[in-house]
Symmetry: C2
Subunit: 410 residues, 2 copies
């Protein structure tokens, strides 16, 4: 990598740095701003005029009509899927419910079959292509869950695919999450407790081999109970993994309480959430990850965003990329839906896909400030509200991970 410093100047630099936030500029934006990159990190953030004067030696990228933001961080995805559930999607659009789809051979178990049949190479190839498309949209970090294996070997193969893709520095950085408790595999013959106990055994080796940084569980009506999730997630905690939860998508069956008890990094979905649960999350410092593409696909009402705000819960917005309920690869589309359908402000949406998402994953990215990794996006758009419009196409000029271009406009 070149040792020459790089200077990127833009009409607007949206730092997302809380140290720069003001009531007028909640995103800590700098008009006519710039960043200086040395090696893989940001060395300076400030006014373009100052940085240009101080660093005549730097290589320059200037976009006076563009906006510079931190790289987007997608904190909830099932991106390691293979196969398609498009026919199920069409059934759902035509009004079919969850059970009807399951009876027709759809649902998570359909993806399980495709994933079990796929080789490691095939999984890696599909994931890498998907991550390149995500990078082109401005995404520089992606959480990827297992959960389509549902047996030890295939759960591990999914996580190994994530590890393999994660070695490629020309892709977004990856955060692997073990989601054994995603659905009950047919061979478990209805025994959810027994399956949870097996997942708690698998996680030993997964943690030992560094294959996951988090454990997640789908706790809901028709999915796993909080008690079943505790078997896996408490063990995950003991092994040093972080915890996330699929919580309240269809009903609050105790996932929020468990999340607060375990100090979870995030509770994800939250369509069904009481005021009491929100207060618990707020006190425990658990973030809420909102997934607007899933509620769009399912035709659901939004989560109680105002209740979460009042309880002081920090909001994350993620794509939920998955082949069933959120067949998307676009975090920007999730932001557009979050703003339009959930009533998020532009600042909430953007912080939820940068600083708050990164914090929920334990990443040092998501803000533009000295010392942070140079993960950033130079948008071909004049201001942050344009980023949350429903473009449906990449609108970036340049996407960098650690100071290196991983996508650019053709």
């Amino acid at each position: 990598m070149s040792t020459q410093p790089k200077l990127i100047a833009a009409g607007r630099v949206v730092t997302c740095d809380p140290g720069r936030a003001t009531p007028q500029e909640p995103l800590g934006a700098i008009e006519q701003g710039a960043v200086l990159i040395e090696g893989s990190c940001l060395a300076q953030v400030g006014l373009a005029a100052d940085l240009l004067r101080q660093h005549p030696e730097a290589a320059r990228i200037e976009h006076p009509d563009g906006t510079l933001t931190p790289g987007l961080v997608d904190a909830h995805t099932h991106a390691a899927w293979v196969g398609s559930r498009a026919r199920e999607y069409a059934m759902r659009m035509a009004g079919a419910g969850y059970e009807q789809i399951a009876q027709a051979g759809g649902g998570i178990v359909a993806s399980m079959r495709a994933v079990r049949a796929a080789s490691l190479d095939e999984m890696v190839r599909t994931l890498v292509a998907r991550l390149r498309r995500m990078a082109a949209l401005g995404v520089t970090a992606v959480e990827v869950k297992s959960g389509y294996g549902l047996d030890e070997a295939t759960e591990r193969r999914q996580l190994e695919a994530v590890a393999r893709a994660g070695e490629d520095a020309s892709l977004p950085r990856l955060v692997p999450t073990f989601l054994g408790l995603h659905a009950l595999p047919p061979e478990a013959a209805g025994d959810r407790h027994g399956y949870a106990r097996r997942c708690a055994e698998w996680i030993e080796g997964i943690a030992r081999d560094g294959l996951a940084r988090f454990a997640d569980a789908y706790v809901d009506r028709g999915a796993f109970s909080a008690a079943q999730a505790r078997i896996v997630l408490a063990r995950a905690r003991e092994l040093g993994l972080g915890v996330r939860l699929h919580a309240g998508q269809f009903a609050d069956v105790g996932a929020f309480e468990l999340a607060a008890e375990l100090g979870a990094a995030s509770v994800d979905h939250c369509e069904h959430l009481s005021e009491a649960a929100a207060l618990q999350l707020g006190e425990a410092g658990v973030r809420a990850a909102l997934l607007p593409v899933a509620s769009f696909t399912l035709g659901q009402a939004p989560p109680p965003v105002e209740t979460l705000r009042r309880a002081g819960v920090r909001l994350v917005v993620a794509s939920d990329a998955n082949p069933g309920t959120a067949p998307t690869e676009s975090l920007p589309l999730a932001l557009a839906l979050g703003v339009r359908s959930y009533g998020l402000s532009v600042a909430e949406a953007l912080l939820g896909a940068t600083r708050e998402a990164a914090a929920s994953l334990g990443l040092p990215t998501g803000v533009l400030r000295p010392g942070a990794p140079a993960d950033l996006v130079l948008w071909d758009l004049p201001e942050e509200s344009a980023i949350v419009q429903p473009w449906g196409v990449p609108r970036v000029r340049l996407v960098m991970r650690e100071g290196r271009a991983i996508a650019q406009a053709s």
Copy 2:
């Protein structure tokens, strides 16, 4: 251009040919199908096995997991805009209404200012970049309206920009529409009738110089009346132009009746449409162009799709790409919203963006059948229902206009 025939084989070939449609396959799909391209046209459409055997001399592109469809046709766009109205978008998301936005300097007149200030070169450059992004999504034909000039010179400059971009065979084919009656320019000082009379004069030169194939007018509450529109559109008919109408977005003020009277090619928006109006459209053979991104942005209820179906009105689905109420460049996203929010079937959505859209524009494209131009998309998706999922990214392997690649997966 090479004279060697090309053969494209796909797991599924969705012809959209009414001659092949059956109750089971309303899109006339062929499993394991293929097309043979000779020069710029389709020479044969059939089973891959047959075509491969009959044409060993042809260059082959085979995608057994992919889907081949006609190129998408975007029949309603304002794609020749420059500038951004992102701040207005943020205001709208925060609950601001039309008048509040107009008072803050937003709305169509804001784009008028940006467009009047732009040179022809700048317009062409912006339009070409946008059309390339559209092509990457599978779009091979785009209707583009004027309507941000609102004086003769600038309306002509917008249409000249479309003509210039239209000379580039590596872009989608373009259909220019004169939309002088888009908004009232400030210098008209409230005189809508006088402005309509001036538009009817401008259209003489526009038609003479071949700068437009259609004339359009925005007839609605707060916009132009049917009587004002008739002044322009009746003249357009006399001059040999086709007619389209922005109709019933906020109220039915007589646009549908006028459309039936003039034999319009389409009425666009249709959120507010009575059963009687639908029957009139059905009898007159006027198509309805639905614009789901606009009603998404505006938070509107869907148009009465079932009423349109019952009246036998053929449906078109378009992006409405514009900087205010549909800041998108994605026809596939419009299809996803049409299916989810309007209750369109997958077949209705796809026909509305291929055969019906092309027919409404008088184009010979939108179907895969011998003799038709080889405008087509090879999707990296296994079936047509996957095309209407909200990917938010291009999912094509190859896009061809007249047998020539205009976009492909990187």
